[in-house]
């Protein structure tokens, strides 16, 4: 007769039981932790980052669903949901100016402005998380890394790798030219032209034929500090026939 009991299967089972118990304990501790620090989570951006990292380590997504433990116990979901709504409002208000593309910095500035003096502080990390949620909800939001930062896309323009790499190139001066694209990216003229045509078509780029040398393609989304006089969304709306 074969001896059963001690063998690979039994060890695995025992390990599993131990791990399960550990995970339960961990979860309970986390819940306790969460309830103690609910206020902190709402008030402190740094704390939120650390909390999120901790959750990620154990494979928990506090923003996974609207109902359930995390959002109810912590109001984490509410916080990011509200932030998501604010982000959408800012993007809508500025869309006429930048075609639906905005730098993370400008978005941050505008969100803080909208929240007023007494509102809780919001970090760029918070914005990215909220936008990731918006993205997952299929709202057309996108995040494009450029230079050392990100461009947030709020209008579902079709942007492929070629387009985003040209956007990254444009970040330096706020504009880009065919020559610059050819020199930096080693592309053929036609490929560069097609990308620029597409950016024009999507309303993300404006054509400047009076620039010295060759046509400049300007990207209002990258302008943030260069405006001296702004036309507000209200004025733009009123001015259109």
């Amino acid at each position: 007769m074969h001896r059963r009991g001690v063998g690979a299967g039994a060890i695995a089972k025992k390990k599993l039981a131990e791990m399960s118990k550990q995970l339960d304990m961990f979860k309970t501790n986390l819940e306790e932790f969460a309830s103690k620090h609910k206020q902190e989570i709402r008030k402190n951006p740094e704390f939120r980052v650390q909390f999120q990292d901790m959750c990620a380590t154990i494979g928990v997504d506090p923003l996974a669903s609207g109902k359930g433990f995390w959002s109810e116990m912590l109001g984490v979901g509410d916080f990011y949901y509200e932030l998501g709504v604010q982000i959408i409002e800012v993007c809508l208000a500025l869309k006429h100016r930048n075609g639906g593309l905005i730098t993370l910095e400008e978005l941050h500035q505008q969100v803080l402005k909208g929240r007023g003096k007494f509102a809780q502080d919001v970090s760029q990390d918070d914005l990215i998380r909220a936008i990731k949620k918006l993205k997952a909800l299929g709202t057309g939001f996108g995040i494009i890394p450029v230079g050392g930062t990100y461009l947030i896309q709020s209008v579902p323009a079709e942007l492929n790798m070629d387009h985003t790499v040209v956007l990254q190139l444009a970040e330096k001066n706020g504009y880009v030219t065919v020559s610059e694209i050819k020199a930096s990216l080693k592309w053929e003229t036609e490929r560069a032209r097609q990308v620029l045509e597409h950016l024009l078509k999507e309303g993300l780029a404006w054509l400047d034929l009076q620039a010295p040398g060759e046509a400049h393609y300007w990207l209002p989304a990258l302008f943030t500090d260069l405006y001296s006089q702004e036309i507000t969304a209200e004025e733009a709306r009123e001015a259109l026939p």
């Binding site: 309303g203 404006w206 036309i231 733009a236």
Partner: protein, 166 residues
């Protein structure tokens, strides 16, 4: 230096709309600030409004004409001659000025009073009003708008023109 233009304004239709709206807003702000109520197209071409020396950019005359036509459609511009070489520019439309003037008249209980044009825009009584200092051409059009609504009648007075309000 300047390349030949295939497009006087932005090629993308939506972008062009935004561009036109921005230009219209700029023209009105500029004229309001510099208290300019009329201009010739030649002047406009060379003025800092359409010719930005610092940026080394000029709006070509074809585009200027499109902007001016847009302003005309919105009621802020009127051509002063058939050849469209000079124009009246009103940062507020005549109807809007008319409304402001009539509101002042009613508020101060002066319906059925008669004013000279000068009194309206340069009199002591209107010093605090927005239409104080308004140029005569725009004022006339404002009063004509009120006349259409039967709220006023432009009349001749001793040494010029005046208006009676109802």
């Amino acid at each position: 230096m300047a390349m030949s233009f295939e497009w006087p304004l932005q090629p993308n239709v939506d972008t062009r709309q935004k561009q036109l709206a921005a230009w219209c807003s700029l023209v009105l702000s500029f004229c309001r600030l510099h208290k300019q109520s009329s201009m010739t197209v030649m002047e406009a071409q060379e003025s800092p409004l359409f010719n930005n020396v610092k940026l080394q950019r000029k709006l070509p005359v074809e585009s200027i004409q499109i902007v001016l036509e847009e302003l005309r459609k919105k009621g802020n511009l009127e051509w002063l001659d058939k050849s469209k070489s000079s124009f009246l520019i009103m940062w507020r439309r005549p109807e809007e000025w008319g409304k402001l003037i009539y509101q002042w008249v009613s508020r101060s209980g002066q319906n059925n009073s008669v004013f000279t044009l000068y009194e309206l825009t340069n009199g002591e009584d209107t010093e605090d009003e927005e239409f104080h200092g308004l140029d005569e051409a725009t004022l006339l059009r404002a009063l004509q708008a009120l006349q259409q609504e039967h709220k006023a009648e432009i009349i001749t007075v001793s040494d010029g023109r005046g208006v009676k309000f109802f």
